[in-house]
């Protein structure tokens, strides 16, 4: 079934502007599926840019994202982005993760090499992470 359903969600979106043009009031919503494929080709450059940024990154901080088993998109994106000669200095994850499942999934994602030299898992929230960010960003630059 391939039906278009218009969701007129943003009654005020059209009064906002981007680059001098009014925004389209019909929003783009991409469901959390593993395949964000050809029907979303307009977003391809965004995802390509995301993969390129991951590839160029020396420091990756993951905040509040538990990488659920059902969302494979990040795995594929990270796999693309990790094809790089850039040496990763930090892959730090911030999550309360009470049952340690997030930590295990992240370790599986990155592999033993990165786990040994760049991985750090910090059990706290976004709010609590701000101070740590500041310290690490300052030391990274």
């Amino acid at each position: 079934m391939n039906e278009s359903v218009i969701l007129d969600l943003g009654t005020n979106i059209h009064v906002q502007q981007h680059c001098g043009e009014p925004l389209n009031r019909v929003p783009v919503i991409v469901p959390p599926t593993w395949s964000k494929g050809s029907q979303y080709k307009d977003l391809g450059r965004v995802w390509a840019k995301a993969a390129a940024e991951l590839a160029a990154a020396e420091n990756i901080f993951v905040v509040g994202y538990s990488m659920p088993e059902t969302d494979s998109f990040f795995r594929y994106l990270y796999a693309l982005g990790s094809q790089s000669t850039t040496k990763l200095r930090r892959f730090w994850v911030f999550d309360p993760d009470p049952d340690k499942s997030v930590e295990q999934r992240m370790k599986t994602l990155i592999g033993q090499g990165i786990e040994r030299h760049a991985f750090n898992f910090i059990r706290n929230t976004f709010e609590d992470a701000t101070g740590i960010f500041q310290r690490e960003i300052m030391s990274a630059i």
Binding site: Y40, R45, V46, W47, A50, L54, A56, A57, V62, I137
Partner: protein, 100 residues
């Protein structure tokens, strides 16, 4: 009045303070996987980091921080850009922020 949740305001303020302290351009990208606009609002309304871009077109200003969303929200677009010397990437999922 648009307003981002306080943790996001605080986060952007921290980036601004860090930038001012270091007197340099922060090389940060944001990659976000969520549907809300909390980070967008914080970056837009605090306006202290020199702008950001969703990279929806090829003509995007390379000097602005990328804010890249896997969910393609059109007014804004999950946590990662940066600034070019040390590339910091941040993935933020606001729906999972406890107490946020």
């Amino acid at each position: 009045m648009h307003q981002s949740p306080e943790p996001y305001d605080r986060f952007v303020r921290m980036l601004h303070e860090t930038k001012e302290f270091l007197r340099t351009r922060l090389d940060i990208s944001f990659i976000t996987f969520n549907y809300d606009l909390a980070l967008d609002f914080a970056l837009l309304y605090q306006g202290s980091l020199g702008g950001f871009s969703y990279h929806l077109s090829d003509e995007t200003d390379s000097q602005t921080m990328p804010l890249l969303s896997s969910t393609g929200r059109s007014i804004g677009e999950y946590v990662v850009d940066a600034i070019r010397s040390s590339h910091v990437i941040l993935a933020v999922s606001p729906f999972e922020v406890r107490g946020g």
